[in-house]
Amino acid sequence: MNRRQLLKMLGVGAFTAASLPLLEACSPAGPAAKPGDAPAKPADAAKPAAPGATTAPAAAARPADAAKPVAAAPAGPPKRGGQITVVVQNDWVTFDPPFNTAEPNGSNMIFGNWINWQADNKGVWGPTPDLVAEWDAKPEAVTLKLQKGVKFHDGTAWDAKAAKWNLDRLIFHPASGVRANLRGVDVSKEDTAALDKMKADANGAFTFSSKAVEVVDDSTVRINFASPNASIVSVLTGTGAAPISPDAYNKAGKDAFGRKPVGSGPYRFVEWQSGSHVVLEKNPDYWRKGADGQPLPYIDKLTYRLIIDDSVRLLELKSGNAHFTELVQGKDVGGIKSEPSLSIVESQASGNNYRVIFDSSNPEGPFRNQKLRQAMLYALDREAMAKTLGFTSGLARKYQLPKGSSGYDESEKLPFYWYDKAKAEALVKEAIAEDKSLAGPDGKVAFTFTVIDRAVDKAQSEMIKQMGEQVGFSITLETLERAAWTAKLVKRPGQPGGKFEMASMRNPVTADDPDSQFRTYYHSAGSYNVAHIEDKEWDKLIDDAGASFDDAKRKQMYFDLEKRAFEQAWYSTLWQQNWNWVFNKKLTNFQEPVTNRWDFTEMWMA
């Protein structure tokens, strides 16, 4: 045979030889037990001792047809080693949890949590121990018993002193993003001079020590409350509260620590190249153990790459250069499902909620009028929006709280807005008849609709403009980038801004504690009160619900809140895009996380 044929044969032979091990690896081995069982949930022992009190949505059954909360039994024993690339779409701002205004994007792997929020085998979500082994939440104090034998990446110990330091920082640092959620802490006995001193040097070492947080013993801390906070456990499961190494922070200072974080999680920080990527490597001294008795995690290295563009990141996944991402747009879900190398997991319990808000406090805007607000909400065809913008992953929504949340009312006795063009038109006419100043010379009610510069938000705004103009409004679209949008909507002392007419926003919603849903965005003291709601009754309802340890009472209060929101029509949740996670089929043992807190601790590459 000639040279060409010989080369061909050799080539084929080499190829076959090379692919044999691959073929072997892919074949399923015998049935394997679920590896690396997390330390057994201490069932009821850890639940708050107060009677009938729980902050978990215990009564909430997850929607039956939703995504599989637990991945199917993985094939083969866990394999150690390797590295994976995760695609993120939002740039990092800092890695210091309470100052992070952007997405977690890997910080949860560096830090771990006080308490985890996970779904069990039956799909019921609830708190599970992590850095806190046991907790006792009472109205007047919360006691936390810490996990023993845990060290930070710099070798310092996770003990009561470190825990107190972290809690003090979360509660008292002026820039802490979780301050509002940690309300009710007894700050009456604090040393104001010391507090002012700390505020004056907010970027330096944190040396303030509070009286509200006590060290009980080496591994126990207690937080004293002046008024009850029923969602404290839920707050402690958040990524914004994650504990950091006091030593590292005090040595580096605020800004530098944010760029070189030190935590106690399964992965340590290696490098962060702005606008490009972040690299984490496994923590060899992590305290959790895998199925083989060795410390977790299995995967050696995590690389988080920033790819803002949707089509580009999908191509990276399909070509195998990247292994994990989340929230692919509804339009791309179909294509992924038919892609042989990728898996997609969808969830209805978690979703990106698209909302519209009115500035009812703007005396010059048309939405000071309640009928016009209601008219606009009747004018919107939520199902069309869910379908056109979310494709198969879009879900039209009636209420603010999602199904599966403890405040969700299954009885359908709660009124809701739905598409009713005739009603909308009638309401607009009524409103104009009562107050001629609402309409312009063309007989239409004119306003500006402010949206954030994002593809789906903009497409949605075009649909809303269309629908609104069919019932008697005249709408001007205004697109702003995130920072400008925030500046326009949020009221700040001494700053212009805080005046708009109608705006849209989006935020991730999970079936977790309802308090955060209402407090942050709609309470008059909420850090993000973009709807400018100033209603004492409303605030009181939120506060009472958040302080009540009585399940039944809480549920009734959230019912009342939703009802009032319906009557006042200050805002409305229109539809959600179901959360989804897309990953390479070889990435094994995926467990549905809380939206964007991807947990790679127990996953491995087959």
Partner: protein, 301 residues
């Protein structure tokens, strides 16, 4: 492209009696493929003028969610976009935007550029130095970046991007106007006029401006193409024309986002931009050939 050629052209045409416009047209059309370019431009201009007649659906309000993201079909010649709007109708209206943007931004650039350039060239001395330094300083910033920065100051939208593109084009026309003015200023009869005591506005209007017109017209027509592309770039980056107004650049942006779902939307807007700019470039080149007798003799580029 080198300034010397154009300056010489200005000198040459000044020495001969000005050819009638008709003569120039004839020369332009003699250039290879120029009639084709003319035809393309005429087609787009016609499209812009008759947009309301040749559209098949309303480009903004005819949303049809069930027909979203479809390729070309008898119902929708070029397909539909993500809200089910007819792409053909949107592109047809987009031609209005593109041509308007081209005309106005070049108008702004040309107007102010000539003002600055002629002043600098004619007056000379310190004024010239200062004006030229400032012009060069603006010139050093990459055009797109400058346009971006200007639109972020002025705000987004069609009008502001026209202004921004115009401002960005000023240095180019200013330099050109100045160079041509410098040459024209030294012409025999201009010197004579000044010696006779003719006042400056008269000299400028009767002698300078007509002589610098030729190279400016050529560059203006090339500039139209550039302006259209810059507008498309700004819209593509999201700071130009805002939804739901149809613009070719905005449609391209949509096409990029929906590339896998419906590639047609990525192809047609770009094609329209390409053809229009090509036609303008051809025209500009043909004008240059027609207005420079040397090149005309050689039969054109």
């Amino acid at each position: 492209m080198a300034t010397t050629t154009l300056g010489q052209a200005a000198t040459r045409t000044a020495r001969q009696p000005r050819p009638a416009s008709l003569e120039i047209m004839r020369r332009v059309l003699r250039v290879r493929l120029a009639p084709l370019a003319f035809g393309i431009l005429a087609a787009f201009i016609l499209m812009a003028l008759s947009a309301n007649l040749i559209q098949r659906y309303d480009p903004i309000t005819d949303q049809s969610y069930s027909e979203a993201n479809e390729g070309p079909s008898p119902a929708h010649w070029l397909g539909t976009d993500y809200l089910g709007r007819d792409l053909w109708s949107r592109l047809v209206h987009g031609s209005r935007i593109s041509l308007t943007v081209g005309l106005i931004s070049v108008g702004v650039g040309l107007g102010f550029g000539v003002l600055i350039g002629v002043t600098a060239g004619f007056v000379g001395g310190k004024t010239d130095a200062i004006l030229m330094r400032v012009t060069e300083a603006v010139w050093t910033f990459p055009a797109l970046m400058l346009a971006l920065a200007i639109t972020s100051v002025l705000g987004r939208g069609l009008f502001n991007s026209m202004l921004a593109i115009g401002i960005v084009g000023i240095p180019f026309f200013a330099r050109l106007a100045r160079a041509s003015t410098l040459t024209a200023r030294e012409l025999d009869y201009v010197l004579a006029a000044r010696a006779l005591g003719a006042n400056t506005p008269r000299i400028l209007a009767r002698h300078i401006l007509p002589n610098i017109a030729a190279p400016l017209i050529v560059q203006a027509s090339l500039g139209l193409g550039t302006a259209i592309i810059t507008e498309a770039s700004l819209s593509f980056l999201g700071v130009g024309v805002q939804a739901p107004t149809p613009s070719w650049g905005l449609e391209l942006r949509t096409g990029y986002q929906y590339l896998e779902l419906n590639p047609a939307v990525a192809v047609f807007p770009g094609l329209f931009i390409f053809l229009t700019v090509l036609a303008f470039n051809f025209l500009g080149d043909a004008l240059r050939t027609a207005l420079d007798p040397r090149l005309a003799r050689r039969g054109g580029d």
